[in-house]
Symmetry: C2
Subunit: 216 residues, 2 copies
C-alpha cells in the first residue's frame, strides 16, 4: 500500500521504517522537499521510501499518518491540502501538548477537555476520515506491541466505521490483536487526556516501554 507520513521526527521515522519493513511504499512529508531529516530517513529506509512536501506525501498516500507535533498539526494539514486528504483515512497519533512553559507540558486548552486535536482536524477536514489511535504510548511500542510483555491495550476512535475497520487491520500489522474501539471521535478527548498520566508513569517507570491494560 502507498502510505504518506506527515512529520519527520522520531514518531514519523519509526512508523515509516516499520511500514517499509512490512513491504509498503512510504513517502515522508515535511515543509520543504529538501528536508534533511527526511533525506536521512530515505537514505536509511531504502528503495521503497521517498520524501516530499506535506502536499506530495498526502497526495501519494492511500492512507496518511499524522506524526507531527500537536501544536503544528493543523498548520501542517493545511499545507498537506484538503483535496490531497479528501476521502482518505488519517491515522492521527499526535497529542496537543504545549511545552512552552517547560516540563511537564500541558494540553493546549482550546484543543482539550471539551474539544480535542482529533476532533478539530475532523472539523476542519470533513472529507477526511480521521481515526485517533496509538497516541497513548511511545513510538517504538506503537509499531511493535511485543515490546511490552503480555497483554496490554491500544485504543481507537473515529466517526467512520469502515475507516476504523481498516485501521484495526493496520494495527494488526504492528502486533495489536484486540484494539479497544471507544466509539466516535469525542473519544480523542479521552485518549489525549491520558498523556499527563503517561508522562508521570514514564518518570516512575524510568522507561517509555510500558502500557495501559484494561482489566475487568
Amino acid at each position: 500500500m502507498k502510505i504518506g507520513i506527515l512529520g519527520t521526527g522520531m514518531v514519523g521515522s519509526t512508523i515509516g521504517s516499520k511500514l517499509i519493513a512490512l513491504g509498503h511504499d512510504v513517502m515522508m512529508g515535511s515543509r520543504t522537499s529538501t528536508n534533511e531529516k527526511a533525506a536521512a530517513w530515505v537514505k536509511s529506509a531504502g528503495a521503497k521510501s521517498s520524501a516530499g512536501t506535506f502536499a506530495e506525501a498526502a497526495a501519494f498516500g492511500e492512507v496518511i499518518f499524522n506524526c507531527t507535533k500537536g501544536d503544528a498539526t493543523l498548520d501542517v494539514m493545511k499545507l498537506a491540502g484538503e483535496k490531497n486528504l479528501a476521502g482518505k483515512i488519517l491515522l492521527d497519533i499526535s497529542n496537543p501538548l504545549d511545552f512552552s512553559k517547560g516540563m511537564p507540558p500541558f494540553l493546549i486548552p482550546s484543543l482539550s477537555n471539551t474539544n480535542s486535536l482529533g476532533e478539530e482536524i475532523q472539523k476542519q477536514f470533513p472529507a477526511t476520515k480521521v481515526v485517533k489511535t496509538l497516541n497513548t504510548m511511545n513510538c517504538n511500542l506503537m509499531v511493535d506491541a511485543s515490546l511490552v510483555a503480555g497483554e496490554h491495550d491500544v485504543f481507537l476512535c473515529g466517526n467512520d466505521d469502515g475507516a476504523k475497520q481498516k485501521v484495526k487491520e493496520i494495527l494488526g500489522w504492528f502486533g495489536w490483536k484486540n484494539p479497544i474501539d471507544i466509539g466516535d471521535l469525542t473519544g480523542a478527548r479521552a485518549t489525549e487526556m491520558m498523556l499527563p498520566i503517561w508522562l508521570k508513569l514514564w518518570g516512575v517507570n524510568q522507561t517509555p516501554n510500558f502500557n495501559f491494560k484494561i482489566v475487568k
Copy 2:
C-alpha cells in the same frame, strides 16, 4: 481509628460502610446534622457510625475522606473548617466533573490541565496533608480490589511523604498491595484527567468493575 467522611453519596456511604466493617469509628458529614441520607446510612451501618455536620465530621476524624462531588468540594472544605482539618491527612478521591451540559461531563476548566482539584484544595488548606488517590475507579472497587480479578493498579500522589505512607496503609485495608506513587500533588492533574477515558470504557465494558493496569 476515628475517620471523618465528607459527603453522603454512594462513594461516601460505600467507603464509610467498609471502614465500619474493618472496625473503625466513622462520622459522615453533610451540610446539616439532620441529613436524611446520613441518618439512613447510620441506621444501616450500626453502632460505630455517626452523622454530623461537615465541621463535626472533620473535627471527629483523625483522617478525612473527601467523598463530595468535585464541583462542591471547595465549598464543603470551607464548611468543614480550616482548623478542623489542620494537620490531618485528607484522602481526596473526588473529581472536578461538570455535568451541567449533560453526558459526558467535562473537567472544570479552572481545576484541570494546569491545575487540579487536589492541588486547589492543598493551596486553600495548606495545613492539611492532601493525598489524591482512588479517584480513577468505581467506589465498590475502591474498597475491594479483589472485585476485579488479577493485578491492576491504584495511583496516589501528594506533597507529604509521611501522609502518603499512611495512605498506602489505608489502601492496604482495601486490598491494594502495591499502589503506584506518582510523586507530588501535580499528579492529581494526571489522575483526574483519566476520568474521560474511564467514562468511555464504562460504556464499552458495560460494567463499572474494571480498572487500569500498568504493564511494563
